[in-house]
């Protein structure tokens, strides 16, 4: 499992300096939670790891991100390769306009990962890993949009896992779910920590406390404090971190 190294990362949206001099080493095989108040740059940092920020026309990025030692920014880098290596689970589940089966099979198909029976097995395994197989195994040809929101989010997770990424990014992936579905996704992410390097953005301090092995606290586009979750939650060093955990700010 690869670690993620972020070096001197600066991001601008037009004239707005959204991220300032970010230097981080995110541990491999663990869950890193990026926390902080709204607008502090959490999602910007997350989306810079799979280069989804490239979709924004007015964005400018300097610095570098290294995954397993390989730079992901640069003219020679194939962005589709980066995104294959770094899967993503968005805030709102968004199934593709396809059947349940095809949603999961789509990624492996376009990347040529599997065909025929192998593909069917990969779909089954991914749905089982996302704990959705028991609910949809008998109706794979149905439209993915017929699933409940919680099921859709697990389908999106199965779809992300099916391309066999090394890193999984989660952008407030439980924010649009009801508490039961959210807890289900949390348990699922927790069970995946041994197999993937997980980076999650969350507003929910308690969720970060439950899930995270490592925490990055951000404030106004800067990393204020980062370190092992236990140490961060028990003895936050910076006054802003202390105030945030005490819910005095944010």
């Amino acid at each position: 499992m690869p670690g993620i190294a972020i070096r001197k990362l600066n991001i601008w949206y037009g004239n707005t300096h959204a991220l300032r001099e970010i230097n981080l080493d995110l541990p491999d095989g663990q869950i890193t939670a990026i926390i902080g108040p709204s607008g502090c740059g959490k999602s910007t940092l997350l989306k810079s790891i799979n280069r989804l920020l490239d979709l924004n026309e007015h964005v400018r990025i300097t610095g570098q991100i290294l995954i397993d030692g390989a730079a992901i920014y640069g003219k020679q880098v194939d962005v589709t390769e980066v995104r294959t290596q770094v899967g993503m689970l968005a805030q709102k589940p968004f199934p593709l306009p396809m059947s349940i089966y095809d949603n999961v099979a789509y990624g492996p198909r376009i990347h040529g990962l599997a065909r025929g029976r192998q593909l069917a097995q990969l779909v089954t395994d991914s749905l089982k890993a996302a704990r959705l197989w028991d609910e949809v195994g008998h109706r794979l040809k149905e439209s993915a949009h017929k699933l409940s929101v919680g099921q859709q989010q697990r389908l999106c997770l199965a779809r992300a896992l099916a391309i066999q990424p090394a890193v999984l990014l989660c952008d407030e992936s439980t924010a649009s779910l009801d508490p039961i579905a959210a807890r289900g996704i949390e348990e699922l992410l927790s069970s995946l920590r041994q197999r993937y390097t997980l980076v999650m953005v969350t507003h929910d301090i308690e969720q970060a406390r439950r899930l995270a092995d490592y925490v990055v606290f951000m404030w106004l586009g800067e990393v204020v404090e980062h370190g092992p979750a236990a140490a961060f939650f028990q003895h936050p060093q910076h006054s802003l971190s202390q105030a945030y955990l005490a819910r005095e700010i944010g």
Binding site: N50, L52, L55, E57, T80, E81, V82, R83, T84, G87, M88, A90, K92, F94, P95, L96, P97, M98, S99, D102, Y106, G107, I110, H111, S143, A144, H145, C156, R159, A160, I163
Partner: protein
């Protein structure tokens, strides 16, 4: 209290204005249908749609307008397919590779201008080309002229449909490591009902346009045996029959208009059906 009464009066006035506008639209369509039906119904016959014109058709002779009916369908089908080949790649390009670029905005501006351009201008343009190349009016020239008329309609309609696709679909698709071409195919999959509805809209426009084919497709009483022969069309058949001084021929013009309207309405309803009922997996 006064303010409250004024707001109620304001709302009441606007409701009635909207109802009036709706009434004008419905009465307008109803009047058109009533006029062409009342004047053309008697002249409508199976012979009219199943036979080509006999000698002296425009002087009250026998026969029908099969040549123009099929001619219009050939022209409109050819033009729609040609427009599809141009419009779809343009729209997918400006929404994927060129998204947010100045090129995309320029393309939209040009398409908007072309949409507003009278169709006879396209006809004159193609006529100029035909003269320069020493060619004569033909099914092919008419098809190209009509395609030019409907490309902006199809492209802008399809573009608006693509722009309505939630941004999350693009983000989700690209996050799986797809290329922009694969994203384009995904967008096409999602927007297929809208594209089909746009195709029918463009087809209807091509079917009913007389100005673009006036100088380009020519006119004939027979069916074309190749793309390079002139072809008759329904709008021109209506025009030529109405221009005669004979009441029975004029009645046939109204009957032809009724047929044209029926075809346009049928395709309009098909477009509506496709928009709402096609695409099992489409996100609605």
């Amino acid at each position: 209290m006064r303010r409250k009464q004024w707001r109620k009066l304001e709302e009441g006035c606007f409701i009635w204005l909207m109802r009036l506008a709706l009434l004008i639209a419905v009465v307008g369509l109803g009047s058109i249908l009533f006029t062409i039906t009342s004047r053309g119904w008697a002249a409508l016959s199976w012979e009219m749609v199943s036979q080509p014109p006999s000698a002296g058709f425009y002087l009250g002779g026998g026969g029908g307008i099969l040549h123009a009916l099929l001619g219009s369908l050939y022209l409109a089908t050819g033009a729609t397919l040609l427009a599809l080949l141009i419009a779809v790649p343009v729209v997918l390009y400006i929404n994927t590779y060129g998204r947010g670029s100045k090129t995309a905005e320029m393309v939209r501006l040009v398409l908007n201008i072309l949409w507003g351009m009278p169709s006879i201008v396209f006809g004159v343009f193609i006529l100029g080309l035909l003269l320069a190349l020493g060619l004569r009016t033909s099914l092919l020239a008419g098809t190209i002229a009509l395609a030019l008329v409907i490309v902006p309609i199809l492209a802008r309609t399809f573009d608006e449909v693509v722009r309505l696709v939630p941004h999350e679909l693009s983000e989700t698709t690209l996050a799986l490591g797809t290329t922009r071409l694969e994203l384009s195919i995904m967008l096409l999959r999602q927007t297929m009902p809208g594209l089909l509805a746009g195709l029918f809209l463009a087809f209807e426009r091509a079917l009913g346009d007389g100005a673009a084919v006036l100088f380009t497709a020519g006119f004939t009483s027979s069916m074309p045996s190749s793309l390079f022969q002139p072809v008759a069309s329904l709008p021109l058949v209506i025009f030529f029959q109405l221009a005669t001084p004979f009441p029975e021929v004029q009645a046939r013009a109204y009957a032809a208009a009724l047929i044209l309207t029926a075809i346009v309405l049928t395709f309009g309803m098909l477009g509506y059906f496709f928009l709402h009922h096609v695409g099992k997996h489409v996100i609605r």
